[in-house]
Amino acid sequence: MTNIHWNVLVPLILYFLGVFLIGFYSMRFVSSAQKDEGHNGFLSEYLAGGRDLGGFVLAMTLVTTYLSAGSFIGGPGAAYTFGMAWVFLAMTQMPTGYFTLAVLGKKFAIVARKINAVTITDFIRERYKNDALVILCSLSIIAFFIAAMGAQWIGAARLIEGSVGIPYKVALIFFAITVLIYTTIGGFRAVALTDTLQGVIMTIGTIALFIATIHAGGGVSNIIQKMYEINPGLITPYSIKEGFATKAWVTSFWILVGFAVVGLPSVGMRAMSYKDSKSLKQGIIYGTVVSIVLILGMHLIGAFGIVVVPGIESGDLVIPTITTKLFPAWIAGVILAGPLAAVMSTVDSQLLIVVGAIVNDLYANYMNPSIKKDGRKTAKISFASTLIVGVLVFMTAFNPPPIMVWLNLYANAGLISTFLWPIILGLYWKRANAPGAFASIVTGVGTYVLFSKVWPRPLGMHTIGMPLILSLIAFVIVSVSTKKPSKEIIKNFWGI
């Protein structure tokens, strides 16, 4: 423990303190909601922030939730290796800011209020009225998200390890305790507010790093020419390897990271928790602008990195290396809080989603329905399960069991193939019913797992493309050939 970079550690600690303050601030809302009797008071506050998000907070929490460690460590790392083609590919995330909010939009928020939904599974339960489906969705959330969080925590701990110089395990504990405490005490409001703080830090960090990188490389022209000299493929949309960044493959990322993000429960949950239609408008505007700055900025930094800091063995280290090279240590600490913030803001939302699945979707619905009326008891169980899930994830990151590694591979795609069509068709198609939803989930997840083994680029696309199309077809065919949903459901959802 002699190589600790205090100059980096101190800004990080200050930042963590800020995060705690937000947690304590939000705790006031949570504890007053505890005393609320009935009306889902506690769960609505803990899992949806009392549906109180303004536009700016909505935008920030949405953007930072779907931009994970991938966009800040892995993405720039890939751009470092594959050049401008990877920046071009990353731009497929461009529509996410407006697309998700416009498509789920007000309708989702209106429906959520009508049926008193605070989780995606609430929506599924009321729309399809099928216990097996609800249990399947909840279990899929729990398994996939715990695995996904494990991977994120590993990334965060490595980042702290690399930049601060403390051992991996210490870094992991440091990180885990912070996330657990503010999420446990503050719930969704704390998560959304820390996401906002994190979004601001990420944006400032990205802009500062971007300017410094261009400066260090002697201007954009110079950098691009040097990239050309290193390998002409670095400045083409086809990248450096023949047959790697093909048109169909790159374009199909529009599905995976652009449009289908609508199907991620952590994203969908945000679309039910904003305050009013004005917040939605502002959310779309801020969300689009901020996500463009972050995506374009971070990936260009990665791509330009090959000129500024050549010869890094692992692309994942490009952002930490550039930062510590170009800035004095204490500023590097502030900037490195950016990617760390990206991880934290993704993880905290996932944590809350899993808690929602356990407490709201499974426990309160099937094991102990009377609990919803008792704010204090719900609170206790929610706190306890937040901690338990946190400890589980911690153990996963400490020493990942093989099943988790395997689940993590499928986490995002699995969630998208589970939820995308049941949400979209449930919201916009009256004929959608439970057998259809089942068929689409089984087809989607099944073909995804199958294709990733035997046919990883069906018709040249990313693996997720075909399964999503097939599961849509399965949904429609099975829905049409089975019984219509009951009048009561339709009235509940479409009536006044």
Binding site: K107, G219, D276
Partner: protein, 100 residues
């Protein structure tokens, strides 16, 4: 409307606008994809030694990603401020219908 009378309820009047807004979002997303594809691959498929540059960036990248980003952010802002309508999100009563 006949369909709804048969089902015995009045459809929430806000949904018409909601559906319109969702379609606009999808439309903008698809235009976005086309712009990105046409400029990216249209200009980027030449041999790299024949590339033209603007502000130091290869033209294909500049048009597809930089201009595309600015253009579609602007279009999203215009879409939201011109065509998205404010409406209450909570449960509404029949009498509220006129106010929407």
């Amino acid at each position: 409307m006949d369909d709804h009378k048969k089902e015995g309820f009045i459809e929430d009047p806000r949904y018409k606008q909601c559906n319109k807004e969702a379609l606009m979002g999808i439309g903008l997303g698809i235009l976005n994809l086309i712009w990105w594809y046409v400029f990216g691959y249209g200009l980027g498929s030449k041999a790299p030694e024949d590339y033209t540059y603007i502000m130091g960036l290869p033209m294909w990248f500049f048009m597809s990603c930089i201009v595309g980003a600015v253009l579609f952010s602007s279009l999203a802002i215009i879409m939201v401020s011109k065509f998205f309508k404010d409406m209450p999100l909570d449960k509404i009563d029949l009498e509220d219908e006129d106010n929407i």
